[in-house]
């Protein structure tokens, strides 16, 4: 596997040439929130708007045919990128959140009734919790949570015990956006299947950073978001096994998801259109098509290896800084995410001082409040890496953390609030 030429890659991303404050260049360490976009992706969308912008599927004219062709061939490319069996198993939604809600509304309301069990985990993003809470309130289904160990791993013994209770669905994240933990999803899916349950995987953090082969995983549903994988905002993806999608009732009603409409009656369209009501995110799908092409060319194995190296280095260096506590497992079990607290300094203050040095990290609960509650904290600061980050970026982060110490350090009465 070749190693990446990060200097060259950085040049693909116009924003990385930016100065955040005068003379202070951007060090972007917030890719878990959203990734930056290479120029090729922006160009693909711009070309669509400047050359062949048209509504799709129903148009006979040249622009509409070009747009339809580009949209559907992007679907093919995205389908191949995650190795779906067929492009019609790829449904476009607003974001990963909507993808999960689609399953909860359509599959969930058809298949789950009072007393049915759905297994979640304590490390889920709110996107993979709240849709099920809403359903639980409405339908009286039961929810159970796989605990997170102090090291930041899923407690798989408990998972197996929960499976014995014959759940209908196990829904869990492929990679935690806080701990960075990469879960053993293939084994977990196999165990779910053995117990007669379906498996929904939240792959929002996985597809951008790891080679993902949905067929090999044998996932029943798999959700992810364009904007975290070099693609535009406004687009999410739901993969679903064809026979499941076929059996599900439609979710939203409107144009394109119908075959025929009369007053008071309609016939549902074929997949994938059945779940894509109204004008889709045409430019965005074309943009994501360019993004997966870009990522595939670099190679997901190479990206993953690069990030592993980087997180290993980052964890080593973070350990040096007095007062810094990183959450999650060791480098070999995680992706490029380091969430940490800083004794006596609130994560917001950490992030703000780092921002003064041009470093973008996120502070807060990262839409994983239950996980933070588990560790008895309200917030963490989080540095997250992507293909365009390098060791130098880690060094700048560490320098920044020493500055945080200095700003807060002169008075040595830490309040411990970062941990409270």
């Amino acid at each position: 596997m070749q190693t990446l030429n990060i200097e060259a890659l950085k040049r693909d991303f116009p924003i990385l040439a930016r100065e955040v404050h005068e003379g202070i260049p951007l060090v972007y360490l917030d890719s878990a929130a959203t990734s930056q976009k290479p120029a090729g992706v922006l160009d693909a969308m711009d070309t669509y708007y400047r050359r062949y912008n048209a509504n799709i599927h129903r148009g006979v004219h040249k622009l509409a045919e070009e747009a339809t062709g580009a949209y559907e061939s992007a679907r093919e490319r995205i389908s191949r990128f995650v190795n779906a069996n067929q492009a019609r198993e790829i449904i476009f939604t607003r974001n990963a959140t909507e993808a999960i809600n689609l399953v909860a509304y359509s599959w969930g309301r058809k298949n789950l009734t009072k007393g049915d069990l759905v297994i979640l985990t304590e490390m889920e993003h709110h996107s993979n919790l709240v849709p099920w809470y809403i359903l639980a309130e409405e339908r009286g289904i039961e929810l159970a949570y796989v605990p997170v160990t102090p090291e930041g791993l899923l407690d798989l013994d408990t998972y197996r015990m929960l499976l014995e209770r014959k759940p209908k669905l196990a829904a869990f994240t492929h990679m935690s956006n806080v701990l960075g933990t990469i879960n053993p999803v293939r084994e977990m899916i196999a165990a779910a299947h053995a117990a007669g349950a379906l498996a929904l995987i939240d792959g929002a953090q996985a597809v951008p950073h790891l080679p993902v082969d949905i067929q090999e995983l044998d996932a029943d549903f798999y959700a992810f978001s364009s904007h975290k994988m070099c693609g535009p905002t406004g687009l999410g993806i739901l993969y679903g096994k064809e026979r499941l999608l076929e059996a599900m009732p439609p979710f939203m009603g409107g144009g394109d998801m119908i075959k025929r409409v009369e007053l008071g009656r309609f016939t549902v369209n074929d997949l994938p259109h059945k779940f894509e009501a109204g004008t889709p995110a045409i430019a965005e799908v074309i943009g994501l098509g360019a993004a997966v092409e870009y990522l595939a060319e670099i190679g997901m194995e190479a990206i993953h290896a690069h990030e592993r190296q980087l997180i290993q280095y980052a964890l080593e260096r973070l350990e040096e800084v007095p007062g810094v506590w990183v959450f999650g497992p060791e480098a070999s079990q995680k992706g490029g995410v380091a969430a940490f607290t800083f004794d006596g300094v609130h994560p917001h203050d950490v992030a703000e001082i780092l921002d003064g040095n041009g470093i973008a990290v996120r502070a807060g609960h990262h839409c994983a409040m239950p996980l933070h509650q588990k560790f008895n904290i309200t917030a963490t600061a989080r540095a997250s890496f992507y293909l365009y980050n390098d060791h130098r970026d880690v060094d700048v982060l560490i320098e920044g953390l020493y500055k945080v110490r200095k700003v807060f350090g002169k008075n040595d009465k830490p309040q411990g609030q970062a941990h409270g």
Partner: protein, 132 residues
Amino acid sequence: MDDLARELIIDRYQNPQHKGRLDPHDLGYEDDNPLCGDHIRIELRVDENDVVTEAVFDGHGCSISQASADLLVEKIIGKPLAEVRAITKDDVLESLGIELGPVRLKCALLSLKVLKGGVYGLEAGQASDELL
């Protein structure tokens, strides 16, 4: 679309050779193109050796959907069902003699979809694009 091919298509559209109904028939099947409301019904008579002896189409729609149905029905008369099942997308496009974008392709292939639905014995409206 080149002019000669278009002339053929418009001629077939305006003067279809095989339009009508067969009463009784051995196989009948219909479907429509939801995007534009094209509708095609195909009816066949088949002899004891599974050879198509008579075939007609009925329906409405654009010149391409109608001409392609007329040409397709013409092509299958006298053929055993096994051969009919083997007809491909490309056969249909070849007989039309034109290149088509993704949208018009659906018009051109509607009659083939209907035919396949019929010969595979599906329930009305159940044929999917994958049969093509």
